[in-house]
Symmetry: C2
Subunit: 444 residues, 2 copies
């Protein structure tokens, strides 16, 4: 009954029952993901996918964040999810490393431009979509990602389907079909990470989720147990999935407030590594020549996801601990510029990253990292970080989030005035028409 | 190098090197899948999905088989794949039970309406797409389907991508990206079988494959090893996938001639079961009351895929051995009408199917079946079929295929004249413009 119980929860949820902590983190996550989409809108993957899809677009009804042209809302969901996640700079659910907003928010914003909804209605559906995808991720973790599933895409399509399904007012049966139609489209492989193909999976998760809900509304029926059935999503892509994690505490224990926004545009496991480098550099700047070797130790997830000594592009560098250490120590920053193709190919970065090794230290939590720098002199310096900036213990402040938004807008959309959009996103709960908010994100 | 070798093969293939046996089976499969799409175009799943997608369609550039309206070519690929496979009456690759044509042919026909290509070019690309998807299926079988992957959808997206990539003239690198972009969209779960959600996966495989190739053309890059990489498609969805099956004998051992067209609109494992019932009925018609119990024995795949005693819809009945036995014995036929919702709910069918049990008989090949009928009198009758109609040993003749086409057209598109389309499909290799062929499939 896992699928049905989850469908029931989404159908029956009332906005008054969603706690303020979830609402506030929802606003923060929306602000963050619109910002990362503005920043990512100029990336080659975004531009190329937009060019590919443009000739097939239907009515010019929905905003493509950071761009002038308007497209049909299925295409907008795809392109905005892609742009929101392309730098891996969007929000992260720490237990699963899902990026919850990228599949869900673009599907909702796109639909809001077709059928008007209030900001509160969008925010409510957004919280529910995040709840669904993160709970599926909880049930599947850590096996699912380790096996090779790009969990943001595979679980995200269910989040988008549930969120849009809520806005559409689907009944329990149709919400179940929406989950079934999402299950038929759930995809995304870790092998694509570090390449533009990753973003195709993420774009498809938003588009597919929106489509799944619309199909269910129109009577396209799905199976009774799309999640827990013997050949359903959790069974097939999991190993002994913990079904209780999907349904226990629904409506009381929310995933939304656990969501974090990232300070650096790279895999979240690298945050603490970069913090350690920046902390070290602040107290003791080192000439690169003085460094003999660097060992980064952390939770096994760090090595699994980011032990990439040889990378050629900014995109690959986003999941390279070696690159992250090199730029953080050399540049004293780790922003979008430090993860550009140009910086990845720079001689000084190449030289320093060759000295970096990644090791498992099972005692260190996923939010932490340990840096051990051996100098040419023989001296060893150790720098530890227990919880990275942007983690639950050290969340970015609202002001830091705004600053991040401004920097992303300036990077992706030179000349764009972000202030009206920032204000509108903070105030979205009171907006009479959510479409008016996202239309402020058009540019060019 | 599995991915690269496969990409290389598709890029370098020359039409002159494709043997006539493959060409002829390709023509037969195209005829068959256009016929099943005509038949399936009126099904509720087709009508509902078409209604859902219509408001988002771009230019009216491509034919929806069996319908009057035209849609953008990504949408046409989706809808025609859905209609082609909705009855499970399309062609089958016996080793994998992939339905090869449904994902590939609609992607090619749709693209042919946007950018003109000759019929020979389409046929060549079709053969290559079938080759790619079936070879991936060979490498993954039988684990992949048993685990719960709907192999037609999961492998089909690669077939469609490779086929369109060939038409686009992608170089080796871009063909590799096309496979990578397909890998990011590969989806489809066996749990959805028997429901309309199955068809959403199949539609998406055609659309996603077409999109994957177009994205690659436009520079959306993928990983180096989307198939065999540690977190690539074969590794993640397989268990010890047999990589040699993907690349051994490329260009000499073709999958296309192994393809079969089905005589009955249901799961291919039921063909021999139905044959046995029809054979028995021909020699000894039995009153239902005279039957105490019926045991169907066969290859374990028969039980795994079709042991469904309780079904409520025609769609579910397509994978129910119990229903197939009941209608074949009662009606002496097993056509589209015998798998309708109405027939599934009929009292005489309900009564007889309750007497049917499915058992494994590992000695029986997947093409065969054994029927054991115990009469109220105590007498036992055994009827065996070694190879079903439509199997490699007993392929439908070209004339039988045409008859099937006419019956499907009459079912799905009353008043449609199938003859010009049948003639054009047989003659497709000589067609100057493949789009002219598929445009004959519009109706209404």
């Amino acid at each position: 009954m896992t699928s049905r119980r989850l469908a029931q929860f989404v159908v029956q949820s009332r906005w008054e029952e969603v706690p303020e902590a979830a609402r506030h983190e929802a606003r923060r996550s929306l602000l963050n993901v619109v910002g990362t989409a503005l920043g990512g809108s100029g990336d080659a993957a975004s531009r190329r996918a937009a060019a590919t899809l443009a000739p097939f677009s239907g009515p010019a009804e929905a905003t493509v964040i950071g761009r002038r042209e308007r497209v049909d809302c299925l295409t907008a969901a795809f392109l905005n999810a892609l742009a929101g996640n392309v730098f891996d700079f969007d929000d992260t659910h720490p237990e699963t490393i899902i990026h919850p907003s990228a599949p869900v928010a673009p599907a909702l914003f796109a639909w809001a431009e077709r059928v008007p909804m209030t900001g509160a209605r969008l925010l409510h559906a957004f919280v529910l979509g995040v709840e669904v995808e993160c709970r599926l991720g909880n049930a599947l973790s850590p096996y699912h990602y380790q096996r090779g599933w790009h969990i943001t895409s595979t679980c995200g399509v269910f989040g988008a389907a549930a969120a849009v399904g809520h806005v559409l007012g689907l009944d329990e049966e149709r919400m179940l079909w929406a989950l079934g139609n999402a299950s038929a489209q759930s995809s995304g492989l870790v092998e694509t990470l570090g390449t533009m193909a990753k973003s195709i999976g993420v774009g498809q998760s938003a588009r597919g989720g929106l489509l799944a809900a619309l199909l269910a509304r129109d009577g396209v029926e799905g199976p009774e147990r799309p999640l827990e059935g013997p050949r359903g999503f959790l069974t097939v892509t999991g190993r002994d999935p913990d079904l209780a994690r999907v349904t226990d505490g629904l409506g009381t224990d929310w995933e939304m407030p656990k969501n974090n926004c990232k300070p650096y545009p790279c895999g979240v496991v690298l945050n603490s590594v970069i913090d350690a480098c920046l902390d070290l550099r602040a107290v003791r700047p080192l000439a690169p020549d003085a460094i003999r070797s660097i060992t980064v130790s952390g939770h096994p997830l760090l090595r699994e996801r980011a032990d990439r000594p040889a990378v050629a592009t900014g995109r690959e560098a986003q999941v390279s601990a070696q690159h992250a250490v090199a730029v953080a120590l050399l540049d004293g920053r780790a922003g979008v510029a430090e993860f550009s193709d140009a910086r990845v190919g720079a001689t000084d970065v190449l030289a320093l990253r060759a000295k970096v090794e990644v090791r498992d230290a099972p005692g260190i939590p996923v939010e932490g990292a340990r840096l051990e720098v051996v100098l040419a002199s023989g001296e060893t310096i150790v720098q530890e970080v227990a919880a990275a900036r942007g983690s639950a213990a050290r969340p970015l402040s609202d002001a830091e989030l705004e600053a991040k938004f401004r920097a992303l807008a300036a990077h992706g959309c030179p000349g764009f005035d972000p202030e009206p959009l920032i204000a509108a996103l903070w105030a979205i709960e009171g907006a009479a028409d959510a479409a008016q908010v996202i239309r402020l994100a058009a540019h060019g």
